[in-house]
Symmetry: C2
Subunit: 330 residues, 2 copies
């Protein structure tokens, strides 16, 4: 199999190295002969696409290289496009993707780090850390006590790799976890799981709200101003999904008015957030520059394990677990 | 037994209520007849001290009411002074305490909340949250990725109620915990336990340092500038002990120079920290207004359980578990 890895230029943290590749192949499933190439420049990409069957790369590379209609000509043998991101919303709509090409996301790479970020954020909100960061900007010492997480209710929207890891951590700390996802059904770490149509009934119970769903046509603007106001006074919110899943201005308004007690967001609209954005200065809001779920110490190893596992499944004629359904968007 | 509870004036969060007292007595050990009184003013205190045998109160009340030599005259029947704090360093030296009066601290009340604060702080430092709070003050979006805690080394100074809870959480997240305390000896959540004289050898291994010891003559200034410089470059530090345990200016210098990667401190010198303190503005340092270990939802219940348990032990002629040794200071 002919595989090409197109790395982003000058990314020392996340560029996949030949050594990482060899180690992954050594511990991975039997796949027959694998011919791999690596590049980070234009010429290397164009040359490799002449015969590559599998491309592992970043969403921004796919976006730039494959406008609608371009792929069949630019990469005539390509059968698998594997992205290093879990959320491929920047590649929607998927009109650039030929029907005979499998698109894989990187769901599963992020769980351990995302779970730690999630419980960190919940603990920070319980302990009023965004409030203290706001007070620190003003040089103001003002005590406010917080309680432990046990017994408190968190609503987690999205129960995939990120949301599932968040639910597991929250349950381990004794929280009551109410899950919301596209399709209802039991989850081992949730006391209840509701479909998205049950969200309005769950929000008034949510002392904590954590967003961890993919951005799709169905989730864009899901937490609009009306729904955010359904949260009880004093609620605390975390966004690890995408900035466009909630109405960011409404969140700021509800923090300004004191209806929301605190917020931590790893995602904004736009990214990077410009210096004059109100988010930087909204009280009791902490802005994190989209790093919640990426652990450079383990990222590439997990990415390659997932890719090789998916290739083995495809080779065996089974569905690829990370295949993206263009209709659902994830 | 004649017991008096002297509450601080106007403290809705932490004043002990008669209802809390009755509930604690109902679930507590058999102690015979208990006559309890409550006050928060001067007259109520003076009247109660005429016949009280046990006083439960705040360290600042003890400090103000019992200067050296005053107690035997002001409270002739008093045999037990129970404080609602775990750290009684503000009552040292203990020259005000007659030999026939037992002084109790409140060690044990804080473990659950302190453990959550500790793991929150370690997760925050692993995810560079103090750095992002600094960047937020400047409206600056700059990614920096962090790794999970598993496999990383934390040195915890102090393995009492707070440090023990921190060690338990750190171990649950897969960290290698190196404990340091006055007397060496095994601890179930530590890979190694060293005496204070081993601190210099442990510090160079500490990717994370967490201070959770009492402030005593032996720990005052323990982390001086020389010892802080023994930490490896990029080390991350948490102080849940007392501000005087470390050289606060040296910590700021090492953050300014970039030797330390980040810091979170719940304690400062002085408290409250004045608006012009350099701590508010030191990069990658988050200041928390001394709230790490107090959970108002559970504080008084645990305080009363501990007091009644200690009274039962004394009544049975056994040592009180929370008795403070004036020579050690805790």
């Amino acid at each position: 199999m002919r595989i090409h890895v197109q790395n982003p230029p000058d990314d020392r943290l996340f560029a996949v190295t030949p050594a990482q590749w060899q180690a992954a192949v050594a511990r991975g499933p039997a796949l027959g002969r694998l011919d791999v190439s690596f590049a980070e420049d234009d010429a290397g990409f164009a040359a490799a696409m002449q015969d590559a069957e599998v491309l592992l790369t970043w969403t921004k590379v796919v976006k730039a290289r494959f406008p609608p209609g371009a792929l069949p000509h630019a990469a005539p043998h390509l059968r698998v496009v594997a992205c290093t991101s879990a959320g491929l919303d920047r590649l929607a709509p998927f009109d650039w993707l030929p029907e005979n090409v499998v698109l894989l996301n990187n769901r599963g790479t992020h769980a351990a780090k995302a779970g730690e970020f999630a419980i960190m954020a919940l603990l920070m909100l319980a302990s009023h850390m965004p409030r203290f960061a706001t007070q620190q900007r003003e040089g103001r010492w003002e005590s406010r006590f917080g309680s432990v997480l046990a017994g408190r209710t968190v609503c987690i929207v999205g129960l995939g790799s990120l949301g599932g890891a968040a639910a597991r951590q929250a349950r381990a700390f004794g929280m009551r976890v109410l899950g919301v996802r596209a399709s209802a059904g039991a989850h081992p770490d949730c006391a209840e799981v509701h479909g998205t149509d049950g969200l309005d009934a769950v929000l008034p119970q949510a002392e904590f709200l954590l967003l961890a769903c993919p951005l799709t046509p169905a989730t864009r603007g899901l937490l609009d101003a009306r729904r955010l106001r359904l949260l009880p006074r004093g609620a605390k919110v975390v966004n690890m999904a995408r900035g466009a899943v909630w109405d960011q201005d409404a969140v700021c308004d509800l923090l300004d008015s004191g209806h929301l007690d605190g917020a931590i967001t790893d995602v904004t609209v736009p990214e990077p957030l410009p210096p004059d954005s109100r988010l930087w200065r909204t009280p009791n809001l902490m802005v994190v520059p989209h790093v919640s779920s990426d652990d450079p110490a383990t990222y590439n190893d997990r990415t390659l394990d997932i890719l090789l596992h998916n290739l083995a499944e495809l080779q065996a004629g089974r569905p690829a677990p990370n295949r993206v359904d263009p209709a659902r968007g994830y």
